[in-house]
Symmetry: C2
Subunit: 621 residues, 2 copies
Amino acid sequence: MNEQEQWQELGQQLRVDSVRAAAAAGSGHPTSSMSAADLIAVLLARYLRYDFDRPQDARNDRLIFSKGHASPLLYSLYKAAGAISDEELLSFRKLGSRLEGHPTPAIPWVDVATGSLGQGLPYAVGMALAGKRLDRLPFRTWVLCGDSELAEGSVWEALEHAAFYELDNLITIVDVNRLGQRGETMHGWDLGSYVDRARAFGCHALEVDGHDVAAIDRAYAEALELKGRPVVIVARTIKGKGVAEVEDKNGFHGKPLDDATHAVAELGGERKLTVSVAKPNTEPARHAFPSGPLALPRYQPGEHVATRKAYGEALAALGLARGDVVALDGEVSNSTYAEIFREALPERYFEMYIAEQQLVAAAVGMQTLGWRPFASTFAAFFSRAYDFVRMASISRADICLVGSHCGVSIGEDGPSQMGLEDIAMLRSVHDSTVLYPSCANQTAKLIAAIVDRPGITYLRTTRAATPVIYEADEQFEIGGSRVLRSSETDDVALVAAGVTLHEALAAAEELAADGIACRVIDLYSVKPIDEQTLREAAAETRAIVTVEDHHAEGGLGEAVLQAFAGSESPPIVVTLAVRVMPTSGTPDQLLAEAGIDRTRVAQTVRTLVAERSTAAGARES
Amino acid sequence: MNEQEQWQELGQQLRVDSVRAAAAAGSGHPTSSMSAADLIAVLLARYLRYDFDRPQDARNDRLIFSKGHASPLLYSLYKAAGAISDEELLSFRKLGSRLEGHPTPAIPWVDVATGSLGQGLPYAVGMALAGKRLDRLPFRTWVLCGDSELAEGSVWEALEHAAFYELDNLITIVDVNRLGQRGETMHGWDLGSYVDRARAFGCHALEVDGHDVAAIDRAYAEALELKGRPVVIVARTIKGKGVAEVEDKNGFHGKPLDDATHAVAELGGERKLTVSVAKPNTEPARHAFPSGPLALPRYQPGEHVATRKAYGEALAALGLARGDVVALDGEVSNSTYAEIFREALPERYFEMYIAEQQLVAAAVGMQTLGWRPFASTFAAFFSRAYDFVRMASISRADICLVGSHCGVSIGEDGPSQMGLEDIAMLRSVHDSTVLYPSCANQTAKLIAAIVDRPGITYLRTTRAATPVIYEADEQFEIGGSRVLRSSETDDVALVAAGVTLHEALAAAEELAADGIACRVIDLYSVKPIDEQTLREAAAETRAIVTVEDHHAEGGLGEAVLQAFAGSESPPIVVTLAVRVMPTSGTPDQLLAEAGIDRTRVAQTVRTLVAERSTAAGARES
């Protein structure tokens, strides 16, 4: 057999194994795997540089199946590379198997989870960007996309950024099999429509017959030679290729073939080819940026400093201390104050423009190579990237997201700019961390604390300058809280964070003058939450009042309620939150309109104390 | 003055008024308004067809400021059109003024809120699609975009769909002023880069000098003549045009001019031009689709039917009954069962391909014209469009979103396809409705109930076929619940919905055999929630156990906890929810792994009853 015949045979093996894996599982996407089998066969046999024994080696090429449902093909590739056994291949989609329905990093050779379409390419942009600008290694990033997923805007955000950053180390292979889940795509086999788009977005694009291994070989060779631009290879393929019953037919997406035995026979039977995948050149060393001592900014208690400003200053300090810290922002760095990092460390700052999906995806991509990304935009605009955040948690990604301009307290800009769902959104992500500091010193300390935090970490900052309330040397643990006022005779505990903590403190001051004692708890760590301190407050006061600049659902108040779930004697908890549609106005006006200002907090406490006194009086009488 | 001079004067007036409005507010975006003033002047004076006295008239053109921060320009346009007074103009951004920082439908001539960039154009696609296919009226949809926002993938989803649906009634004006919030855009004044992209996406695109009123006039005339394709007019403009201090300079985004008086003088002073805006031709009548009696599908109790299937069948029935109902889906209509509607009513079905942002945006656009859209995809994938959902609530949009494949119960496909944050995401939207039926008859009734529901309504459907538990004639109110089992001596109340309701019922059955009585509450309306029934359960049982196929944060459990916020004696509430990272497996395996199956429910109740007995015993002894 000559080389091309070997590639064809390998393609058939990948098809056979895809069919077998789906048959064993009783579900899965064999036909979407069969269309791309020849593209992957040539890649594996001749172009991929990967050491399956050392997946952590940054010098490896990256391979991402953006069309994650073609997992049978990916797993068949692993088998062909000798990385998994045939037995493991057939554990596909079974409980306990790492070979899940869509790839996840439970598999050591998978960097990012895919399965939500249009995400693999944006992640790859982050990896390729790291390869060019951070690691400075010659690895290539290969992405297999489906044609259906090119309808996702995130794909065009990715190609736009790839071209802008001249990512010639990024090669996108589009498997144009014409058929989506429920029928034909918008463009069918009009390969030119994709090529034109990719070129207009600044990529080098070429068409290829995705079942002609010689043509595929030439396309890959051309891709490797090109400098200065990302390459998009648009391949005409046939869904279900090789099995007449399903070839190019609608209605066979996402299901095993009816007669797998017959299909395997039609494909020429099982094969036992093993590819000795070329390993990367291990000579180049990763670039490292200098590290140094950490000198966080220090603020004077009483001084007024916006926590967003403290974020920028702390991040710059952290970046000087740690060469692995990088920052990304979505064209609002002068509002989030990520610009302070950019000015200090321009090599490690990445402008992602107004493309929040790509912003988060680039962070996810970079962390696969060990970088510690901080991505910032307005809190509200992380909602644009929520699917990426959700998937990042499935990717076991370690990223820090920092959202500014939270809540009605931003004032005149109005509701479109107000983060009012961000805590709910981030809390509900698996194993996430949600922090909401109220003071510049606290913000700086928390920024330093989260750099090594696993999972998705979200920190919410405030637009307005607020008083510094903690000393610069105070330490803040993730999962902790601070009791700012307390006495043995506290009537009510006020639980707040961020801007409303200052309202709670003012209310407590006002109430103290009337003889009502309030405990004030700074719940800066919304998730994980300090259950112990809350329990003590519940035991030692008559009621808890939570107050937050966020909608009532899924926020700080419900986090407190959840902390008492299962409790034998849950306390009275009153949840003050934004329950109106905000408008424009001054911050103070809007806090009042939303019922989360000091006046409303004080009123609420007075009512509670009066009711409880009456109730107690009634019981005594 | 000839016509062109009048346009120039009008442009200057719009600039002057933008400067004055921002000066009066002390904030806002005058420079972003000044760049587009000439484009808007010519549009208003010659091309727009709009009756400001009859904003509800479907025959009006639509005008959307996708760059919502150019609100001073929009409000200055209203003044020039005689729709608002100068006094009102100067109320910009003040509490109580409808002229908010970014436009919202508090203003009668604003159809959709903007301010999150890259959204105006996708909404416009929905309006233009309605104009072509539903209303069948000759109105035009004009969109003013900024250049920065073209980095958002949603813009390309929109142009892709606009071209695919041949929306020649959609004219996009791109104000290329080169400068974003914090610096230059990716492409600066390279107008060709935008033109190439728009053409590759199937649009007719042209370049124009955005300060040459004659050229603008010619471009608009060309746009109106073109058939079969959307038009994109890429205009070279100067940010802050007309005031030397800020013209084409960085650092003046989003702030009033330092010396407004001087700037107004430099612009030639205040003017008092009023434009008599041409009204639309009121001859054409809106197309109406036939209506008829409502014949919802009926299912036999005991039969196994997936609620997603019932959704499709009920929606088709609703569509036959009501000519204003339309359906949209994101290329998964064979999974969501929206395909049943498509087959019955193809004229009112819109395939939005794998572009969830455009899916939701099209629904929002269509409802501005009075259509009642139902948009469906997997529950998980609405996270892709969360920013659009959030903004839709600010738009006061009335839309129904239906998410299938919720929770771990989908089984083998794995976590990327599981909606586990969707309740949190939708609950936290202002004034939203969140429903989660467990039975096909219930689903059908709820679909009929939500068609006239104001605001954002979300209904969650289940992949698996589950038993029909209600009679076809039973009625279900939004905000209601159903007590499926109860007695005077209930030990514990189980609160569930959807797939876990069936687990709760099975657990109750099992426990009854052991002499433990469970009340079972079907909490199909998660928001609004039936507080009364929950309060009765709290009063009449020892504890409440919630069980949901969703993450613990922001879901059904926290909705129940929130229902007791402020309560004088809150009950014991145990919240069973998904607290693990799911994998692939069978539905039953995954429900068990997540601790939300019948076995875990029964165990939880047994432990609760035992603890309470012990506690009671301890107190008695």
